[in-house]
């Protein structure tokens, strides 16, 4: 689960890491108020950033500076409501604009290949790290944390010296160690600081001092661990969750909406992806990825059908079930029930094999549901049905 920058920063603060203060504003007036307070504190400028769970907001115009309260209000007004990669911006983060001396990159990631938490650091911060990794891999320094011991202090020191942060050794070691701690404590997959920055600010006596701070933060949490972190589960941003996705999540159905017109209902993630691929290959377009999960009961089948039909673009439905834990007859009964309850009629092709497939076939035959024996046959029938359905509507 992705969380917003503001929530990610609060997780870093909870580990005692240096994060400059921020305010979240949902209206231009609230952004103005936040800016006034920051400017009254002696700052020259504020930065206003769109809070969205997609990358590339800077390039999309979702990050702007403002030098006065009036300007902050105008900038916030422009950013709020802006569409960034399909997401409507509903809130902004307001903070003092930092006087940046140098930017770095630092992240803790769960590395599948080495099966370790890896800390990745680079002196080339503030930019696209994937580009650095592709073009200048030697510019990225890595340290692997031990699964049981975590990141040891000497490893943190080696990383920090390697990044050229020796002048800020103590703070940098604390941040490096803190990132791994943040990951472990919160069951995160990724804790990324980009940029980690040396900034210039006014010291206690008014003279400028340098300080290492986390200027941005990105955290993704392990969905499988949210059950033991109710506080983190509450960070799910419902502003950005499609209502259909919410229903699917609550029903325990894996559902991802796509652009096509053939709704798919499948048991198993790999088979669900394969079914989509085959629909595309046969000249059709899948409307969704949908995995009803193992041991699907008839009520879950009905819920899945409702999810598929909530997309007005769907013109045919393809059901592909390979019974193992899931029983074919249970799915067939659910389909029959769902068809009686459904609001609109769409052609449906059903292919059920495996456990109790024979009983399923009898149930479907009695209800005159179109069935197919093989996967390839089911796919071509569904593609033809969608074409006929689309043609009829035109």
């Amino acid at each position: 689960m992705k969380i917003q920058e503001s929530d990610a920063k609060s997780l870093l603060l909870a580990r005692g890491l240096p994060v400059p203060a921020w305010t979240v504003a949902r209206t231009p007036a609230a952004a103005r108020q936040a800016a006034e307070a920051i400017l009254a504190g002696g700052e020259d400028k504020v930065v206003i950033k769109a809070l969205v769970l997609v990358g590339g907001r800077g390039k999309a115009g979702g990050v702007k500076l403002a030098g006065s309260a009036d300007e902050a209000e105008q900038v916030a007004d422009a950013i709020l409501g802006m569409n960034i990669k399909g997401i409507t911006v509903q809130k902004v983060l307001v903070a003092a604009a930092a006087d940046i001396i140098k930017e770095f990159y630092l992240a803790a990631v769960l590395d599948r290949k080495s099966q370790r938490i890896i800390l990745m650091g680079s002196a080339e911060g503030g930019i696209d790290i994937e580009e650095v990794a592709a073009t200048r891999p030697e510019a990225i320094i890595r340290e692997a944390a031990h699964p049981h011991l975590g990141l040891l202090p000497w490893q943190a020191r080696r990383l920090v010296f390697g990044m050229g942060l020796g002048a800020h050794l103590k703070d940098a070691v604390k941040i490096a160690t803190g990132l791994v701690e943040t990951m472990l404590v919160n069951d995160a997959d990724l804790v990324e600081i980009n940029p980690l920055a040396i900034i210039r600010e006014a010291g206690p006596d008014g003279s400028p001092v340098e300080r290492l701070v986390c200027l941005d933060a990105k955290v993704t949490l392990d969905d499988s661990a949210l059950g033991r972190h109710p506080d983190l589960a509450a960070m799910r941003d419902l502003d950005e969750e499609d209502p259909t996705d919410r229903i699917a999540r609550e029903q325990g159905i894996s559902f991802i909406k796509l652009d096509g017109n053939i709704g798919c209902m499948v048991n198993g993630a790999g088979l669900a992806m394969t079914t989509m691929d085959l629909v595309k290959q046969a000249g059709g377009a899948p409307a969704n990825f949908l995995d009803i999960g193992g041991g699907a009961r008839s009520d879950k089948v009905a819920a899945a059908m409702a999810l598929i039909l909530s997309d007005p673009k769907v013109e045919a439905i393809l059901v592909n079930i390979f019974g193992g834990i899931a029983r074919g007859d249970e799915v067939a009964r659910g389909l029959v029930r769902a068809r009686k309850e459904q609001a609109r009629s769409v052609p449906m092709v059903v292919r059920i094999v495996g456990t109790n497939a024979d009983v399923a076939a009898q149930i479907l035959e009695a209800e005159k549901v179109a069935t197919a024996a093989s996967l390839d046959e089911a796919v071509s029938m569904a593609v033809a049905a969608a074409r006929a359905s689309a043609g009829g509507a035109a």
Binding site: R112, D222, S254, I256, G270, F289, F322
Partner: protein
């Protein structure tokens, strides 16, 4: 014994008295798997599966008294990694973990314990393994198999069944069918499975089924190019139409930063001498074209 499971398997079922544990234990026993023990803490001394299998409180007892060498874990996610570590540190050589939704950082720790103990973990979030005609350890329907000499390894559940059914329908039997699981952190990778098949005198050809996310298929392909050049090899990759950045059901099935795409996996496999099918139903035909005579 083909790989991982076979006639030598002496199975202990951790969680044998639970609903899932009992249901699948009956199916495994009916297939001919030698279930020697069950473990349910607090139910030691009782008998399971109609009096045919003794239940112990600990895995250590199941090893010492019943001679268990393989374990399957039907414990829900919250207790699954503890069960894995108990098995590994009680002398079990091969451990299958079926549960889904285990936190990745828990599995990271458990995998390290298993490795240190010198044991093999398969899963989690996997359907297990079957050596047709000998033993089935897991939840793969027994009816889809045919004994033979093709090794099958896959990250999926039902997609594996689809591929195995296609093989069986075409008369191509399997040495062992192994589901390694769809999670990001797993005990046995595609590469590990290929190494096991390479060392197995009963396996003459390879079917590898992968999906988007991570680079495990690419790593396995690179190794196969060098060490499995002599074997007919075919593959299928699910997720050609999956959008980037979305988790496709499996926790590990996600394309991130342009890495882990079906295209990159297909290219790596083809470069390594695999014939890559566009549908699981094409696998038998491609295997024949690759020179498999079995």
């Amino acid at each position: 014994m083909s790989i991982l499971v076979g006639r030598e398997t002496r199975l202990v079922v951790q969680g044998i008295t639970g609903r899932e544990g009992e249901f699948h234990s009956r199916a495994m026993q009916a297939y001919g798997t030698n279930i020697v023990a069950g473990v349910t803490p607090g139910k030691g001394g009782s008998m399971a599966l109609d009096g045919s299998v003794p239940v112990y409180d600990t895995v250590a007892e199941a090893v010492a008294q019943a001679g268990a060498n393989t374990s399957i874990i039907f414990v829900p996610a919250a207790g699954a990694t503890d069960a894995v570590m108990e098995a590994a540190l009680s002398g079990i050589a091969t451990i299958f973990c079926i549960a889904e939704h285990i936190p990745a950082l828990d599995m990271l720790k458990a995998v390290e314990v298993v490795r240190r103990a010198g044991a093999t973990l398969v899963g989690p979030n996997c359907p297990g393994a079957t050596t047709p005609g000998q033993a089935k350890v897991g939840i793969i329907p027994g009816s889809i198999h045919l004994p033979g000499r093709v090794g099958v390894v896959s990250r999926s559940g039902t997609l594996t069944y689809e591929a195995v059914q296609a093989m069986t329908d075409a008369g191509l039997g399997q040495s062992t069918c192994l589901g390694i699981g769809g999670d990001p952190i797993i005990g046995t990778t595609h590469l590990d499975a290929l190494k096991l098949f390479a060392a197995d005198p009963d396996t003459d050809a390879i079917v590898m089924i992968g999906e988007i996310g991570g680079t495990a298929e690419e790593e396995a392909a690179a190794w196969a190019a060098e060490h499995l050049a002599h074997l007919p090899k075919v593959a299928f990759i699910a997720g050609r139409t999956a959008p980037e950045g979305k988790r496709m059901g499996h926790a590990g099935a996600i394309i991130s930063g342009g890495s882990g795409t079906a295209a990159s996996k297909t290219a790596a496999l083809e470069a390594a001498g695999f014939r890559v099918a566009l549908s699981p139903t094409q696998l038998p035909k491609l295997l024949r074209e690759a020179g498999y005579k079995g």
